[in-house]
Assembly symmetry: C2
Homo-oligomer: 157 residues x 2
């Protein structure tokens, strides 16, 4: 078993760097495609997707922040811009500190639905089509293993 | 063969979403670890890494932008902040439009070297240790397949 201070081997690091650089390049390319196809940023799309899937198309801003993995301050600035574009609205709740309700607006719902087909087509072209069926299954396994590791208790070493 | 308008299946999309959400969560967690361990952001680290590996520890800003996958305007703002912290310096070149030379400063070199061990330890703990040897090999294969697809000619459909 590795000791607590053991560093990755050169080969492990090479794999890590290729993995992280490739997934970042893929995200950048998908973001550019999304924006040129639909005028939405990846942040816009993530917010609209989360609200589209939420009960009554509304979420507390704290829940939304947790859902899309953003700091609340970053989300708050972003929601201000989306509100000015009438994609969402915020309804203040005085009763607790979980933040305002964020509600999908009709303009936001339309923008999300119009973006879905071009975005999914880009996902297919840039990700699904790049991989064999075995590689796609392995990508799912890797995601599940990473997620279990990130969420689980730190291993004792 | 799929037609040009075919969308991903529900299962393919589920894999895609788990993959992209997990790799983003991993990046966020690594960025937080890097910052709390070393005071460097992932952008700082990427710039310092690229300059550390460059001949004479210097790169044209256009080459640096291409290397780390950023827009030149974003990089320019970031380099301004790094210059004020004396991590890098810029030397203007009047002769062409490939941008200033960006040069690693001694403070930047020290910061990079001090960050390397904690950062690599975090990569091992959060990524390498999460995966079996087969999964790690598959992650390398997936990255290579995605990269070849992103770089290669668009398939004719």
């Amino acid at each position: 078993m590795p000791g607590p201070r053991k560093l990755p081997t050169r080969e492990e690091l090479r794999t890590w760097r290729e993995f992280v650089e490739t997934t970042q390049a893929l995200s950048t390319l998908l973001a550019a495609r999304l924006y040129s196809d639909t005028g939405l940023s990846p942040g816009d799309y993530a917010v609209l997707l989360a609200l589209s899937e939420a009960t009554d198309n509304r979420l507390r801003s704290s829940e939304l922040a947790a859902h899309i993995g953003w700091e609340r301050s970053r989300l708050s600035h972003h929601l201000g811009r989306m509100q000015r574009r009438q994609l969402i609205r915020r309804e203040e709740c005085a009763t607790d500190n979980r933040g305002a309700d964020v509600v999908l607006e009709p303009t936001g719902s339309e923008a999300f639905h119009a973006a879905t087909v071009p975005h999914l087509r880009a996902v297919r072209e840039l990700f699904i089509d790049a991989l064999t069926a075995d590689q796609l299954a392995a990508a799912g396994d890797i995601a599940a293993a990473l997620q279990a590791h990130l969420r689980g208790p730190r291993p004792t070493e």
